[in-house]
């Protein structure tokens, strides 16, 4: 068994695809019409066969209250690894991304948290070398 896909609940798939590809820099992997929604996944461009991120509609009545409660307390439910968190923070801020937490040393790692404009907070983390 292996983890091939994980998901993030988004309020609008078209907007999410724009943010996750044009701003964050992922690339669309699968885009399959599925009733009213799409099976829409993105991957990291340097790891196209790696774990996919499913941009999943948050239409279920429980999804939005769940997201809102997490966001109110600043909790990121999804986390991505970056090589240089300071550079990534600068790059994303210049693109207008709103950070609730700038890069901050948290023990051996440095983390930051930003708003994905689709109803979620996302953590980026620079892991210690080695």
């Amino acid at each position: 068994m292996r983890i091939y896909v994980t998901s993030v609940f988004v309020d609008d798939q078209a907007k999410a695809e724009r943010f996750y590809t044009q701003v964050l820099g992922f690339q669309t992997k699968l885009d399959i019409p599925l009733g009213e929604a799409r099976w829409l996944t993105v991957v990291a461009p340097d790891d196209p066969d790696g774990t996919q991120l499913l941009l999943e509609p948050d239409g279920h009545p429980a999804a939005r209250p769940f997201k809102e409660a997490l966001v109110a307390d600043g909790i990121p439910f999804t986390s991505f690894a970056v090589a240089d968190i300071q550079a990534e923070h600068r790059r994303l801020e210049e693109l207008g991304v709103r950070f609730t937490q700038p890069p901050t040393e948290m023990g051996p790692t440095t983390t930051a948290v930003f708003d994905d404009t689709c109803g979620n907070l996302i953590q980026i983390v620079q892991l210690p070398e080695g």
């Binding site: 809102e68 966001v71 109110a72 307390d73 600043g74 909790i75 990121p76 609730t100 937490q101 700038p102 901050t104 040393e105 948290m106 023990g107 790692t109 983390t111 948290v113 907070l121």
Partner: protein, 90 residues
């Protein structure tokens, strides 16, 4: 307004203020992360939330909503009153 001295009597609440002194506008998640990773304080989120309520009642922190986030900042006002009362005799 709650009792400033009672609010300051608890070491976890003093550590929360230490961390808020580093940066304004922190979410509950950031405060919990700082306490856990920098001070090995693994209190529950609910416990930290209650500490924040006590600090807010004592006027030692300001809590505001910005958009969908709830942000916490230190308010040094009550501490300055302490200085005025006993230390500022010049």
């Amino acid at each position: 307004m709650g009792d400033v001295f009672k609010a300051l009597a608890d070491p976890t609440r003093r550590t929360i203020l230490d961390e808020l002194a580093d940066r304004d506008d922190q979410t509950l998640f950031e405060i919990c992360s700082r306490l856990l990773t920098k001070h090995q304080l693994d209190s529950t989120r609910q416990a930290i939330s209650q500490h924040l309520d006590v600090l807010e009642a004592a006027g030692l922190i300001d809590v505001r909503r910005e958009g969908r986030y709830k942000l916490h900042s230190i308010n040094r006002g009550p501490l300055e009153h302490i200085v005025d009362r006993w230390l500022d005799r010049s």
